[in-house]
């Protein structure tokens, strides 16, 4: 019961403080720009003589860029909206009156976590669905496995959220934000270095990417999602930013799942043990 109360209050906070609505409004702006871009590209195609086959590959590539932007926005939103929730409430003392109620601490934590997961589910559904809809209606292109891809992006957001909440049981809001954004930045850089190994044929770049993914597997999840969604032909083209050069294996996705569960378990244990 208390768990659902906390989940509900977290969702209500996102709505009442206009976090969710502002993010969705900004997302609509993004969708509008994406739609206009696609529309102009279509107009240029119609005016020229680009073969339909090439048109499709270019538009698919534009769709993947749009989906990657949604992925980045969603991960950043997962981090920024939750970075203050545990650490800030401990620092300010907001949590004292709630934690002194007949509620187990794990219920407070999981309730908040579930509320954010719900908020991210709404955000990813609207933004991912909106981007795919714009791609379909304006450009006439759709990703290969949109549901699988969306689920992977959602998984990546939940991972970033869980890591943020975990560090929030140790560190202040600012320190927590620096750590988690730093970790995601590390994963981002490692992922792109690994992707660039396709141009340089460097096994050491691949190794750097894998180690980065082991430290923080968020970007690896996206690259798996990109592999699942991109058309096989575009994926096989080496000049594509999302080419199938070094695709994270399902083992890596499984590792990310273990990573998420471990972060959740550590967070619960530390939140249970620490003084408030």
């Amino acid at each position: 019961m208390a768990l659902w109360i906390m989940a509900g209050i977290t969702l209500r906070e996102a709505a009442r403080k206009k976090i969710l609505w502002t993010a969705l409004a900004a997302g609509l702006g993004f969708l509008a720009v994406f739609g206009i871009g696609l529309h102009y590209q279509m107009t240029d195609f119609d005016a020229g003589s680009t073969p339909p086959f090439l048109r499709y590959q270019i538009l698919s590539g534009m769709l993947m860029v749009g989906l990657y932007t949604v992925d980045l926005l969603a991960v950043v939103m997962a981090i920024l909206t939750s970075v203050d929730t545990i650490s800030g409430e401990i620092t300010s003392g907001t949590i004292h009156a709630m934690a002194s109620k007949p509620v187990a601490r794990w219920q407070l934590f999981i309730g908040k976590w579930a509320g954010f997961v719900g908020m991210l589910a709404i955000y990813v559904t609207v933004m991912f669905g909106g981007t795919i809809a714009v791609g379909r209606w304006v450009g006439g292109v759709t990703p290969q496995n949109p549901v699988y891809g969306a689920l992977l992006v959602f998984f990546e957001c939940v991972l970033a959220l869980t890591v943020t909440l975990m560090f929030g049981t140790w560190f202040s809001t600012l320190t927590n934000g620096v750590i988690v954004l730093g970790l995601h930045g590390l994963a981002f850089m490692g992922g792109w270095l690994e992707q660039m190994s396709g141009f340089t044929d460097s096994s050491r770049l691949v190794a750097v990417g894998i180690v980065s993914s082991l430290i923080m597997p968020s970007e690896a999840i996206w690259r798996r999602a990109a592999f699942e969604m991109e058309s096989p032909l575009a994926g096989s083209l080496q000049f594509s930013p999302f080419a199938d050069i070094s695709v994270p294996s399902l083992t890596m996705i499984g590792y990310a799942g273990v990573y998420l569960l471990s972060a959740l378990a550590i967070a619960l244990y530390h939140f249970q043990q620490r003084d408030l």
Binding site: M1, A2, I5, I9, E13, R16, K17, S92, G93, T94, H96, A97, M98, A99, S100, K101, P102, V103, A104, Q273, D275, L276
Partner: protein
């Protein structure tokens, strides 16, 4: 240290103690916040918890509420080891400098805390308006807390502490930020809680508030009990007496040592510290029998502030 409830004052009077601690200890690194705190608080009384800043009062309260884990010793609340989740259904808490979700309305905040306290929704619908009325916030029930003054926030904080009719209520600086009317309201609410049988554990810097509200006080110094005073049964406490009399002799003043710990005379004015209020008639009889013409005989009980300074030492501010 042991305290006792007045006969018939509490429905729980025979149920034992509301709070018991034995050599309770909390250490943060090299800093000892609570040092061997041994405390017993009888059910059904208003208990004052006094001490200078940094004496370990808030840490002690947090340990009793299960918010902070003790480094050593034992503590129980309502007969259950502290930290037990279920017993918190019977405990209310107003933290010092109460923080809240300021985007909630007053009604929503009480519904949230009532829900967390396990109050059924139907009961909550009845309880919330009653509590808002109790703390004088009914006209502001739909106003967001970010629009509240500090005094109003203290009132809503007190209401959330009482939302589930707790048996034991911890109030950490409940009158902070309140005007005289607000302080009086809080005082009345605290007394009404005692009348319904609840135990109130009160931590406040306002000694005058403690003095008129509490049944018993404990003074904390450096994380341990420095002294205990029963504010209801003051007959056994020392009392200062001002006497204005003529024909006071050295022999008659020396004879007062049977009942007093110190005397000081200057002309017709005699000041003495009587060991207890029970001895006052004997002192007066002695002076008259010794031939003194007594014009004024005024007992002046020590104020809590004087006791505080005496116990803590003058260099320890609140």
């Amino acid at each position: 240290m042991t305290s006792s409830a007045a006969p018939g004052e509490s429905r729980h009077a025979t149920d034992g103690f509301a709070i018991q601690t034995h050599n309770l200890r909390k250490v943060y690194g090299k800093k000892v916040a609570v040092r061997n705190l041994s405390l017993e608080v009888a059910r059904g009384q208003i208990f004052g918890f006094l001490g200078p800043n940094g004496a370990g009062k808030s840490t002690s309260i947090k340990i009793l509420l299960g918010l902070v884990k003790p480094s050593g010793g034992e503590a129980s609340v309502l007969g259950v080891p502290c930290g037990d989740t279920a017993v918190r259904r019977k405990i209310g808490f107003l933290p010092e400098d109460f923080r809240f979700y300021e985007w909630l309305t007053a009604t929503e905040l009480l519904e949230l805390h009532g829900g967390l306290a396990g109050v059924p929704a139907r009961r909550l619908r009845e309880r919330v308006p009653v509590l808002l009325d109790l703390v004088g916030l009914t006209p502001h029930r739909d106003k967001r807390l970010q629009e509240f003054s500090k005094g109003m926030l203290q009132r809503i904080g007190l209401a959330q502490a009482l939302i589930h009719d707790p048996e034991l209520i911890f109030l950490d600086e409940p009158t902070s930020g309140l005007d005289p009317m607000g302080r009086r309201l809080v005082r009345d609410i605290i007394r009404s809680q005692r009348e319904r049988g609840a135990t109130v554990f009160l931590n406040s810097h306002l000694l005058s508030e403690i003095e008129v509200t509490c049944d018993q006080v404990v003074f904390i110094r450096d994380g341990e009990v420095a002294a205990v005073r029963d504010l209801r049964a003051s007959h056994n406490e020392e009392v200062r007496v001002m006497v204005r009399a003529r024909k006071l002799t050295e022999e008659s003043i020396a004879g007062l040592s049977a009942w007093s710990t110190s005397t000081h005379s200057e002309g017709e004015l005699l000041t003495l510290i009587a060991r207890s209020q029970d001895s006052l008639p004997d002192i007066l009889r002695h002076l008259v029998a010794a031939g003194a013409d007594v014009y004024q005989f005024t007992p002046q009980p020590f104020s809590l502030e004087e006791l505080f300074v005496e116990i803590m030492g003058k260099d320890r501010g609140l």
